[in-house]
Amino acid sequence: MDVQDVPQDGNATLGGHRKAVYARGAGGAIVAVESAGWEAEEIVTLQAVDVFDAYAKAARARVLAGLSSPLEYWMYARRMDIATFAQSCGVWRWRIRRHFRPAVFARLSPKQLSRYAAALGVSPETLRALP
């Protein structure tokens, strides 16, 4: 890639930031150049973001239908799958899945609730409901 070919597509996913990429400059020296992004990157980043947004949206619908607890919504809203969440809070996956049941979730001890809340970076009160 030559310096003048470095994409400057202004990716929305970069939030106005620029990144450094390496390209061949005049005289053949390979140097770091600022790039405002490449559309190919934007496409795949948005795809990854959308996966978790879709999970969170589906979880929200399940919570509203009384089929799941806000815990599941908050997990996906924090871009975690159940494996990542289990590692983050140190709770076994099957226990977390059990706590997705609204009736079980409603009876959670304050201690367990604050453990989840800490891993998700929200307050226990916030965790009790959908935003």
């Binding site: 990144k19 390979i30 996966v51 871009r79």
Partner: protein
């Protein structure tokens, strides 16, 4: 209460952090040289390791390998500390900053509020430099950012003590003994040899073999499954989006080879740099073709993508075999 620190923008967090720390300690070294001496280039495809539902695909060595490689090649000594509690890690960082020390940290990406929202994923091996503190705000030089930033104590603590895979456990590091600027030609050649050797490993998960392994998986992929397109996008993200300097670190490594030709006493490395730039361009062509399919502009054609990767595997196999012979 902040040391003089020169922020320099880098493509990759670990090579950028190491290079900037060494510069601060009087060893003039650029990101490409740090990346190359650290033996940063690699390829790994581990379909049995799942991260956020996706297989592990990496164009680089595992976290901390660059620091280790630089330590070995340059004879720099780094002091590395981990902490069992957040309070201890926080106190130690503050104490070091009060002494005027500039400190490298391992953190999660997700919990750093200054990161663009769409780039915040749960990756726990991000590297950055803290060069000072003002009240409850840390002064941060994040090498993948254009400019220095500030981060509140609570946010940085959360990022340093995020749990899960590659949990940073508050890891901080700083060089304690930095030798002169002369780099032994043999050390550079050995660092190149290590990379070439690993790229030629006879396994379907590492190096050129790993690229072939990924190509085979793509070729066999069931295009009707929704996960299939997600995997294709995931490959491109690992290659381009995750701070690689373009083409999955190939351009960055080419910059290193070009710079290394003289100090390694191997003028031919300049031509290898050119060849690797061309291989990088082929990786970019693959990424573009893949992204167009993800977006739905082209019809989804896994065998066509697999062909790209088979060609790349063959190109890298030939390239690294010759490179290895040159530095042996």
């Amino acid at each position: 209460m902040s040391a003089e620190f020169k922020h320099r923008h880098a493509a990759h967090c670990e090579s950028g952090t190491v290079a900037n720390l060494l510069n601060h300690h009087g060893l003039p070294i650029g990101e490409p040289m740090a990346f190359g001496l650290g033996g940063g280039l690699s390829f790994a495809y581990l379909p049995f390791v799942r991260i956020q539902e996706m297989p592990l695909i990496a164009y680089r060595v595992p976290p901390r390998a660059i620091i280790r490689g630089v330590r070995k090649s340059l004879g720099v000594h780094f002091r590395i500390e981990r902490f069992s509690s957040m309070a201890a890690g926080e106190a130690r960082l503050d104490a070091l900053l009060d002494q005027g020390q500039v400190v490298g940290l391992q953190t999660s990406v997700y919990w750093l509020p200054y990161f663009p929202e769409d780039m915040r994923f749960h990756f726990n091996a991000h590297n950055l430099v803290v060069y000072g503190r003002e009240g409850d705000e840390y002064l941060i030089s994040d090498p993948v950012g254009e400019h220095p930033v500030r981060c509140h104590r609570d946010d940085l603590n959360r990022a340093r003590f995020a749990k899960g895979m590659l949990a940073p456990k508050g890891t901080l590091y700083f060089p304690t003994a930095v030798p002169g600027r002369d780099i032994a030609p043999k050390a550079i050649r050995q660092a190149i040899h290590r990379v070439a050797w690993s790229m030629l490993a006879p396994l379907p998960i590492f190096g050129a073999g790993g690229i072939r392994g990924l190509a085979r998986s793509l070729g066999r992929m069931d295009r009707s499954r929704p996960d299939s397109l997600r995997l294709v996008g995931h490959i491109v993200r690992m290659q381009e989006e995750i701070g690689t300097g373009g083409a999955g670190f190939r351009f960055l490594y080419a910059a290193f080879l070009q710079e290394a030709a003289r100090p390694a006493e191997r003028p031919a490395l300049g031509e290898f740099a050119e060849r690797l730039m061309d291989i990088g361009d082929a990786w970019r062509a693959f990424a573009l073709a893949a992204a167009r399919m993800v977006k739905g502009r082209d019809s989804f054609d896994p065998p066509a993508l697999a062909e790209h990767l088979f060609a790349l595997a063959a190109a890298e196999k030939g390239f690294f075999a010759e490179l290895k012979a040159t530095v042996s």
